[in-house]
Structures are given as C-alpha cells and as structure tokens.
Symmetry: C2
Subunit: 232 residues, 2 copies
C-alpha cells in the first residue's frame, strides 16, 4: 500500500470566476468592434469605459452607447480598468500598446485584433513578426497578463439593438489558466456567448486570421457568420 | 430607359451538384483520418478506394472497413478516382504528391492535411514554405484542381460505428466554384456534415492549423470538438 494522497479531481472547465464587479476598458472603443463589445458588456451589467486617443470622442461615443458606459483617453481608460480589451485597428496596434505600457502594467489585457490585408480577391492573413497580434502585445507589454479573444464577432450584430443574443463561442487563448478563466467568464456575461479555452498564445495566429475565412463565408452566404465548437 | 439585360439572380450557395456517381480515392487511407473518411463516405453510398504505398495493406484495411471499400496502391487509387482526398501525414505530403503528379492529372484533389508540430506544451502550427499544405499541393500538382477540406474532423468519431451522425461543418477552400461546390456536395453526403465555402487557398493555412486549437480544446474539455459556422 502506498501513502500517496489521492489526486484531486480535475477542475470543471466551466466553473469560472465571478467577474461582475470588474471594470472593463475597451481601447479603440470608438471603432465598430470596440463599440459593439462595449455595448454588449454594458448592457449585461458590466462597468465599461471606452478609450480613444481623444477623450472627447470617447465621451461622445460613450454617451451614444448609454447603459452607463464612460469615455476616456486611452491611458486613463487603461489605468481605471481591471480588464482591458484591445480593439484598435491592426495598423495602430504596436504603437498604441507601446504608449500604454505603464498604464497597462498588471492589467489583464484581451487582444481581439485581426491582422488582415485586403485586395481585389478579398481578405488575407497578415503574419506579424511576433507570430500574431496577441504575441506582439505580449512582447510589448511584459508587465501585463496578455490573452486573446473576441476575434470572430460580427460588429454588425454586436451593435444591432434588435439582436437579443449573440449565439457564438468565443475562443480564448492565453498562458495562464487564471487569466483565460476570467476572459471566458467575461464572454459568458453576454447572452448567447460562451467563452471556450482554445490554447496558448503561440496558437493565436490562426484564430486571428480565421476572420479572413469568415469574410468569405459572409460574402458567399450573405451572412454574419460566427463559430461554435461542437461536443463541448 | 436602358436596354441592359436584368442581372441574373445570384446562385443559391446550397444548390450543389450530385456527386453520388463519383469515385472517391483516399490517399493515406490506412491512417486514422483516411480510414475514418473512407468509412463514412462508403457507408453513405459513395464508391471509395483507399490508397496506400502498399496495395496489400490497402486491401487489408479496405476489407476491414467493408461497405464495398476497395484498396489499391496510391497510384492506382488516384488513376481510378474522380475525387482524390489527400490524407497522408504532413511528413510525407510533398514526396507522395510529387510521385503522383501524372496519376492526379485532371483530378479534383481535396487536401485535408494539417501541418502541425508537437512538443511538451502541445500542438503548434507549422508554416509550409508555400503557405499551407493545400498551396503546396497546388504547386506540386499544376495539372490538378486542388481544394482543401475535412481538416477538423475527429478521427475517433469518424471511425466509431456507434456514432450515427458527425455533427460538424466542413470548411471548403479552393479557387474554382465548380470544384468547391463538388467538395461541399461530397461533405453533405455524410449524415450531420455540411460543406461550407470558406475562401481561397491562400486562406488555407489558418484552417489547417486551427487543429492545434482543437487539440487544446479537446484536452481541456475531454471532447472531440468540431466546428460549426453560425448564421448560415
């Protein structure tokens, strides 16, 4: 007979923390994707601050969104938030994050940027030097906890007040389970959405660039396609 | 008043050709993925020939599968088939296709290979020089019609006779609508499956490498995850 302690049962992957008391910042919150996410999270009862380079523009967009959304300059938005969603255009991604390194220290950062190029044949994946937008964020923000999520959402559906539920899974990537659990819980706040852990940051590129395929799907089927994972 | 003819209505994207009379070859048909696909297609009434480097091994695997599946050496399998699914390991992908260039001339080739690496942290995407396994196939087979599909299927579920339906979408990529329509129709033959057009071959890499994420999902949730596209 051995004296080994019994192994603990694996943690239920859907047993997630309560994030209802956390403040969520959205950098690039005046863009379509950022505005849509801010709208859905605030409507679900989350405290949301949208950030923009201009505090004034952020304030105006926040007023339009309602549901208690506040607007602030990006740096102020970052400092006042617990979780910071990065929804800036890919073009300004590195520069924006470099300028916010101090403000984002210790924060849980959720990158949802899709590096894409466009030409006559449609959209195609761009490959950032660091591997993905999320890995670029992690490289630029050594003091932050960087995750990636919310890539495959239709900005049209997010912003449409006539759409009650966003029926889609949100693939969440990151290096620490505590962090990805928080992001999954945040996704779960939005009716219809389900946060699903989908790997480490080194596997973010294909998740980010799958949006190029969804654009082809949307064009062929006149749809706003999302992704569901089966069997879980 | 102009004399322009009215524009034809766009073709219904789910109006697909009848492929029930076509013969499907499966290169690498003795591997788990190939065997599973051969089993499902044959069970659905498709004529299927599995290929292997050894005709003898192919014959033995075919006999095990039943449902009229035949076995043949890869070259013979390719020549006798209308549609040829490439389900060989990534390691042997280029070499196998180079050797079959003549036999695959004029054929509709469906690449379902996922170039992945594995280490202690799990699976990660490999980036073929040509961009993707499918683009490598297209480069090596200038006389074939190359498409990509069937990347996200669980070989376990495919091969399990107790599983009646494979509830998943099959993302189909290619350059010609006539070809991708045929592959979608082939996917639709398998109960539960739906073939969905998802872009050109230049956007195949992220579809192939998303399997690394599904492996993470399967590990976390003890599942055999597949992908569904919503809103279509």
């Amino acid at each position: 007979m051995t004296t080994e302690a019994p192994r603990p049962a694996p943690k239920d992957p859907f047993d997630l923390p309560d994030v209802s008391g956390l403040t969520v910042g959205v950098l690039g919150g005046t863009g379509d994707q950022g505005r849509g996410l801010a709208y859905r999270l605030a409507k679900a009862g989350q405290r949301v601050i949208i950030g923009s380079r201009s505090a004034e523009r952020a304030g105006a967009a926040a007023a339009e969104l309602g549901s208690g959304v506040e607007g602030a300059a990006n740096e102020d938005c970052a400092r006042r938030s617990d979780i910071v969603i990065v929804a800036v255009p890919w073009d300004g991604h590195a520069k924006t994050l470099e300028g916010l390194r101090d403000a984002l220290e210790g924060k849980l950062v959720v990158d949802c940027v899709n590096p894409l190029g466009f030409d006559k044949k449609g959209a195609y994946a761009l490959k950032p030097e660091e591997g993905s937008a999320a890995e670029q964020a992690a490289a630029l923000l050594p003091g932050s906890r960087v995750t990636a999520a919310f890539h495959h959402l239709s900005a049209v559906l997010l912003q449409d007040p006539g759409v009650a539920e966003i029926a889609t899974d949100v693939m969440v990537l990151g290096e620490s389970r505590a962090d990805t659990d928080l992001v999954q819980a945040l996704a779960n706040r939005i009716p219809g959405m389900r946060g699903v852990f989908a790997g480490r940051l080194r596997n973010a590129h294909q998740v980010e660039s799958l949006v190029a395929n969804l654009i082809s799907v949307n064009r062929r089927y006149k749809a706003h396609a999302g992704v569901r994972l089966t069997d879980i």
